[in-house]
């Protein structure tokens, strides 16, 4: 229960930020950090708690984003109705990818490659068909009313992304304190043992990729509402997939707070490099790559792992 209290305190603290902070730059920084944390939380469900390393989480992100955009623009849905549909789209794509790859026992780098391949296939499809706007992409008209899920102020968007991140927190916390979560982590640590103890590994992994896909799709939906534009490269390109896995790996894989911590550290790091080296395009990606290599080599359990080890020694 202490974990829930921590999440609650975090929620109240961040929700009240707009009362003290008025700078648009600062609020945008918080929004983008929370957004990165959300993608990380989604990846962490499957990759961290389930041990299935996806390198193509963009497939869920993009499906959520396109569902959100297409339903509003082409079919005239209200955004509030499109949001659950976007989640369902991510969930369905998760079921598809999971059923195909887990049925045939793909793991490790094979699973990573297959997810990457799925994201690329979806990118090409989105690039081809007219109802996704093909290569031109799609604009979601600016309406700036809460009724259209476009709060119109930075504070409103902050609360929106915070709500999604809190949902991600609750799912992560639930995985730490439930039978399903215990089964998922057992499958991650040793599938044969888990099977001998009565765990249906296939079904457990399938559940994880569906939950993970839904949460990732909510990130795509938020992106569309906040930035009003989506194209195949943004939606299904590898950048989103990398962003999703980077935070948890840096912060602490398979932990409740790791994705947020990692997102925060990476955001600061990105801003610092930009400050030091100017706006050279892609320079922050170079730094991210270096950080990733260093983390995987020297701190495989992430920043949280360092604190834990310190606590155990004390």
């Amino acid at each position: 229960m202490r974990g829930l209290l921590g999440i609650g305190v975090f929620g109240v603290a961040v929700a009240s930020l707009p009362l003290f902070v008025t700078s648009g730059y600062a609020l945008n920084a918080v929004i983008m950090t929370l957004y990165a944390a959300l993608l990380g939380q989604a990846w962490n469900i499957l990759g961290g708690f389930g041990g299935q390393f996806s390198f193509g989480h963009a497939v869920f992100f993009g499906s959520g984003a396109y569902a959100m955009a297409v339903l509003q623009v082409k079919l005239g849905w209200n955004a509030w109705a499109a949001l659950p549909a976007a989640l369902a789209a991510g969930c369905a794509v998760g079921a598809l990818v999971g059923a195909l790859s887990f049925r045939y026992g793909l793991r490790g780098s094979y699973f990573a490659l297959v997810t990457l391949a799925f994201a690329e296939v979806f990118r090409i499809l989105a690039n081809t068909f007219d109802f996704t706007g093909a290569g031109v992409g799609m604009m979601v008209p600016l309406k700036e009313t809460v009724g259209d899920l476009q709060p119109g102020s930075r504070a409103g968007y902050l609360w929106l992304i915070l709500a999604l991140v809190l949902a991600g927190f609750l799912v992560s916390w639930w995985l730490k304190h439930s039978r399903y979560g215990a089964w998922l982590q057992a499958v991650r640590d040793n599938e044969a043992s888990a099977a001998a103890l009565g765990v249906n590994a296939f079904r457990v992994k399938l559940g994880a990729i569906m939950i993970s896909g839904s949460l990732m799709a909510s990130g795509g939906a938020f992106y569309v509402q906040y930035l009003h534009y989506i194209d195949p490269h943004i939606a299904y390109g590898p950048a989103v997939s990398v962003e999703a896995l980077l935070g948890p790996i840096v912060g602490g894989i398979g932990t409740v707070w790791g994705p947020l911590l990692g997102a925060g550290v990476l955001h600061l790091l990105g801003e610092t490099t930009r400050g030091l080296m100017g706006d050279a395009p892609g320079i922050n990606l170079v730094v991210y790559g270096i950080v990733l290599i260093l983390m995987v080599t020297f701190l495989p359990s992430g920043i949280i792992g360092v604190f834990r080890r310190g606590a155990r020694r004390a």
Binding site: A182, D189, A192, S193, A196, L197, G198, V199, A201
Partner: protein, 252 residues
């Protein structure tokens, strides 16, 4: 309780298990012995659903379970341990055992409480909050046992739970296995430690080169010439008898 009939499986040209039948009566401890590479673990894999046999059937309490996946067999009341221990390394002993306990306890608190009870029963009470990777080999063997027990099995398959333990640790484990039988669980065990087989088993099956070569009470088995030859090489039984001959004559 468990009845395997005419099980066979081949890996390429290697007949790992050939036409093996065995029966485990309710409440018994049955041991499966044999030299390295005899096919004991493969037979376990066939019985517990990790491998599907080429031919033959497996029945648990009269119900055909041939080719059923392991997690469903576990739900029916039969589970196994692994010879090479397979802990959930990054989790604590309590969390490890709780995975088994979750089979019958939906709630987390109930599963953790049940896990604690089972862990104490196999002598892991002092190490509940240790990470599994920090346990000794003896501790990990106990952990395998505890996890399997936590699923509340009717029949437990133990794959060399004594291997790699020192004599003191073995002496400590034997009463644990006895306790399991006394609590009403039937046991089929693969074991190399003959002291344990003698102490525990009601009946022994001997496997060699994938085939059953003997079956009987532990005492009878150790005097079976075929068994001695399987372990010590062709002609050994004859030589042993000759070697024993003069001294017996002297005693007479």
């Amino acid at each position: 309780m468990l009845e395997a009939r005419n099980l066979s499986i081949a890996f390429g040209g290697l007949k790992a298990v050939e036409d093996v039948s065995l029966a485990v009566p309710r409440g018994a401890i049955v041991a499966l012995i044999g030299p390295n590479g005899a096919g004991k673990t493969t037979l376990f894999n066939l019985v517990s659903g990790f491998l599907a046999p080429d031919t033959g059937t497996v029945a648990l309490e009269g119900r055909d379970i041939t080719g059923m996946p392991p997690h469903e067999i576990c739900r029916l009341g039969m589970t196994r341990t692994f010879q090479i221990v397979q802990p959930f390394a990054a989790q604590t002993v309590r969390e490890n055992v709780a995975v088994g306990a979750h089979l019958h306890h939906r709630g987390r608190a109930a599963a953790l409480a049940a896990a604690e009870e089972v862990a104490r029963r196999v002598g892991l009470g002092a190490e509940l909050d240790k990470l599994a990777l920090n346990l000794t080999i003896a501790g990990r063997k106990r952990l395998e046992l505890a996890r399997a027990l936590a699923t509340g099995p009717k029949l437990l398959l133990l794959d060399e739970v004594l291997a790699g333990l020192n004599p003191q640790e073995i002496a400590g484990m034997i009463p644990v296995v006895q306790g399991i039988r006394e609590s009403g669980v039937t046991v089929l065990m693969i074991e190399h430690v003959m002291q344990a087989v003698m102490n525990l088993a009601d009946e022994v099956y001997v496997l060699n080169n994938g085939r059953l070569i003997a079956r009987g009470a532990p005492r009878a088995i150790t005097n079976d010439p075929q068994v001695i030859e399987a372990y010590l090489g062709h002609g050994t039984a004859e030589r042993l008898r000759k070697a024993a001959g003069p001294s017996e004559a002297a005693r007479a």
